[in-house]
Structures are given as C-alpha cells and as structure tokens.
C-alpha cells in the first residue's frame, strides 16, 4: 500500500521542528523512516504532518562528553556501530547494534528513532536501561533529561510528550574492565528478538560481583531491568552456581503472553538460557581491555 496524504515539513533547525510539532495536532517525527514508513505504507498511522528532521545540522553525529556518549537524533545506527571512539568508550553499543535489523536497515535507521519508537522487542531500549542512559527531549518549554528507567512506558509508548522531539540519547562510558555482553535469540539474524539480554558485570573486592546490571527485551510489554537476577548476583562469587541462580531468577520477568512466535514457557526457557550465557561471556571479558 501507499502512505496516506500528509503535510511534509522539512525542518532546518530544532526550533523549527519543535514549532511544527506544536502547530499540528497529530504530527510524526521522520528520522530514518525504517519504522515510520512501514506504518504509513500500511496506513496504521495517519499523521496530519510529517516533520522531517533529517537535515537539521545540530542533530547529526555523535560526541563523547566526559563520561557520556551523546548520540544525536540523526546519527544512523550503522554510523554508531562503526565508530571506534564509541566502541572504545562502551563496546556494548556495537555488540547490541549488530543484532538490530539488517545492515541495510541500519544504514538509514537511527539509534534515537529506535528508542523513541520503543518497540517491546527492540534491542536498543534494553541497552539504554542496562547502561543507565537517558533521553534528551526538547519541547516548547525547553529541554529536559528523561532517565531510561522513566522513559519506556509500554510497547511503543514513552514519556516523550506529543510536542517534544528527542534530540539525543546519552549512554554512559563503561568503566575499563567492566564485563559486558549482548545476546539474543531470534528466528533469523536481523529479526526482532524473541528474547534478548544486555549484561554488565563490575567485579569488586575478593573477586565478588560488585554490581550486575541486566536488561531484557522481547519478553513483555517493554524493555525491563532484570532486578531479581541482579539481586541474585550482587556480592556473590561469579561462578556457575550464581549465574544459574540469576538466570533462574530472570524467568519471572517474562510477562509476554503466548503468541504465534513463542509460548510463555519457551520465552522463559530462552531468557534463562541467554542470561546464563551472557553472564558467562561478560565475566570472561571482565578485567580485560575492550577489544572486538
């Protein structure tokens, strides 16, 4: 099918885009278009205006600002994936992006667009939660910072207001030596995950886990932190027993209902399995320099 009729606004500045958002009752921001265009082609969305932010200079590219990686709204997924400075600052970003769609989709799709879209099965919201990142939003009243744990509300629903634009996401630098891993199970490489997990392990005194951060996608109505699994690890020795206990504790985080792709029991099994494996991978990398 073909997109419905809409007004097309090509914004040259963020202010222009924000003003256009306020001027239309039901507008949609057009970034890479890799999720928006399918919804338009199938007429699942009928915005009265598309606000194309693709040419706004201030929204291009990335920066490393102290302890944070700033990914602006028009930085394409592929560009972020290949950025060596970003890899050196936080290698989990590249590992996660490698599982988002196919290269051809990542050539156009943006990191911020995926996070604003907030599909419950998308990998990048889990990345933002696990790393403790934030979204920078700009609206008529100015700019605000929304922490990841307050951003994702439900499948495709965020705390971004209808008159706001996400101008960037910020992802913290990983302290050197942090163990990290992203793992997912999908039917085909590049498909949305049936279950996916981001794991971060910081080792502390006495070879025990000082802090574990885990977030999953594909298992419920939005990306979630696996708090029970984290609690099962903190202060423990990083061994097969504690990893198995954490993986088991993660099972209860599955709230998705049976669907045509997977039953609840299968998703719980997948999550337990990938959490266990991701922890093993993260532990294997802990204390070592980041390398691909």
């Amino acid at each position: 099918m073909k997109p419905p009729l809409f007004d097309y606004v090509r914004a040259e500045t963020v202010d222009e885009a924000v003003a256009a958002r306020a001027a239309h009752e039901y507008s949609a921001v057009l970034a890479g278009g890799q999720s928006l265009l399918p919804t338009l082609n199938f007429r699942l969305a009928r915005p009265d205006a598309l606000i194309d932010i693709g040419r706004i200079k201030a929204l291009q590219g990335t920066a490393i600002d102290g302890d944070e990686i700033v990914i602006r709204a028009m930085a394409r997924q592929r560009e972020v994936e290949y950025d060596e400075a970003i890899f050196a600052a936080n290698p989990l970003i590249r590992e996660t992006l490698g599982n988002v769609a196919h290269a051809v989709i990542r050539n156009r799709g943006t990191v911020v667009g995926s996070i604003a879209h907030a599909d419950a099965s998308a990998e990048l919201p889990a990345l933002l939660l696990a790393t403790g990142g934030a979204v920078i939003a700009r609206g008529p009243k100015g700019e605000r910072r929304i922490e990841a744990n307050a951003f994702f509300k439900f499948h495709m629903t965020t705390s971004l207001a209808a008159d706001e634009i996400a101008v960037a996401v910020c992802i913290p630098r990983l302290p050197p030596g942090t163990g990290y891993a992203f793992l997912e199970f999908a039917r085909r490489h590049g498909d949305y995950a049936l279950a996916g997990v981001c794991a971060l392990l910081t080792m502390g005194a006495g070879g025990r886990v000082a802090s574990a951060r885990l977030a999953a996608c594909g298992i419920g109505s939005r990306a979630v932190r696996l708090v029970a699994a984290e609690a099962a690890l903190n202060g423990q020795k990083p061994d097969a027993a504690s990893f198995a206990a954490a993986a088991k504790a993660a099972r209860d985080a599955v709230t998705a209902s049976d669907d045509r792709q997977a039953s609840i029991a299968f998703r719980k099994h997948l999550l337990e399995h990938i959490v266990g494996r991701a922890l093993g991978m993260a532990h294997g990398r802990a204390g070592k320099p980041f390398a691909s």
Binding site: L5, E25, L37, T39, L40, N41, D48, R108, H189
Partner: protein, 178 residues
C-alpha cells in the same frame, strides 16, 4: 505498529508537492513530486527504471534495495522527498554501458543464483554495497548468510546465492576470511 487511535481528521483532497533535485545513475534529475511518493515508486513510475522491484513495501523482502549516497537502502522505506540532493544508484547502473555484466551479476549467472529473478536486483544491490563498503569480506558460511539476511528469495533456496557471493569475490580478487 502504532496503536494510537487516529483522531478524526478533516478529509483532505490536496496532495502536497515539492520539487526535488537528485542524481540517478549519474544523471541529474529534477522533478516535482507528491510528498508521499515512495522512492521506489518514483524510480519505477516517474523515471521508468523498473529494475527496482517492489514486493512487501515494509522493508522485509529487500527487492527494492538501491544505493543512496553509496549505502544500501530500502527504496520502499524512503520518501522521494528524502532523497532530494542525494545520489541514487539502481540495478540499471550495475552492468557496463556495453552490456558487460558486473562480476556480481556474472557470478549469479554462472552459479544459477536466480530462477524467476524477482528478488535478484535487490540481492545484487545489497551485495554490491557490501563489497564496496567492507574492508575484509567475511566469506564464511555465517558471514555470507548474514550479508544476505536482509533479502528474501522464494525460489532458489539460497545455496546458489551463497555460492555466487563467493564466486563474485573470486572474480573481483576479493579474498576474505572463510
């Protein structure tokens, strides 16, 4: 997909238009287009470049793949107005002017990597972009299959397409791991 209930909008009959300037296969093109026109339809209907195929119109099948400023992209997920100012390459530009096939096309022919051919332009454009972009090609079974993962073929069963990628690498003197 959006679950928001659409508000009642005034019925509209206007079809906003915009002028675009771009190059397609090296040729400068200026056209006035409907803002909702997809790049795929612009290429096929306005420019009559019907080698770019349209299957699913939601980014899944890959047969509409073209190169935008050197990077592969779905022309069904790009508005023609978004391509304003860009350089587009389509399957029509791949063979030489005298008809000599590109090594990727030659490899498809030699390896019998197509049957009906509907998916072929998209596969060729994806593979060409990978060959142009990647420093070292990953020619392992997994690497090639990942390279092809964004394109669907309902005829061949993929074996021969995997073989064609390796043959093309050989023809182009592009070794790789695997």
């Amino acid at each position: 997909m959006s679950r928001r209930i659409a508000p009642v909008l005034a019925e509209r009959s206007d079809d906003p238009r915009r002028a675009i300037n771009l190059t397609v296969n090296g040729e400068a093109v200026t056209r006035d287009v409907s803002t909702r026109l997809l790049l795929s339809d612009f290429l096929r209907h306005d420019l009559r470049l019907t080698g770019t195929h349209v299957g699913c119109e939601h980014g899944v099948c890959g047969c509409c793949t073209v190169l935008i400023d050197g990077h592969s992209a779905r022309s069904c997920l790009t508005l023609a107005v978004q391509a304003d100012g860009s350089a587009i390459r389509t399957i029509e530009s791949v063979a030489a002017d005298d008809g000599t096939l590109h090594p990727v096309q030659r490899a498809f022919k030699e390896c019998h990597a197509l049957q009906c051919g509907f998916c072929t332009p998209g596969f060729v454009m994806s593979i060409v972009s990978h060959f142009e972009e990647a420093g070292t090609l990953d020619l392992s079974e997994d690497g090639v299959r990942e390279m092809l993962s964004g394109n669907l073929c309902r005829c061949t069963g993929y074996q021969n397409i995997v073989a064609a990628v390796r043959r093309a690498a050989e023809l182009m003197g592009r070794g790789g791991k695997g």
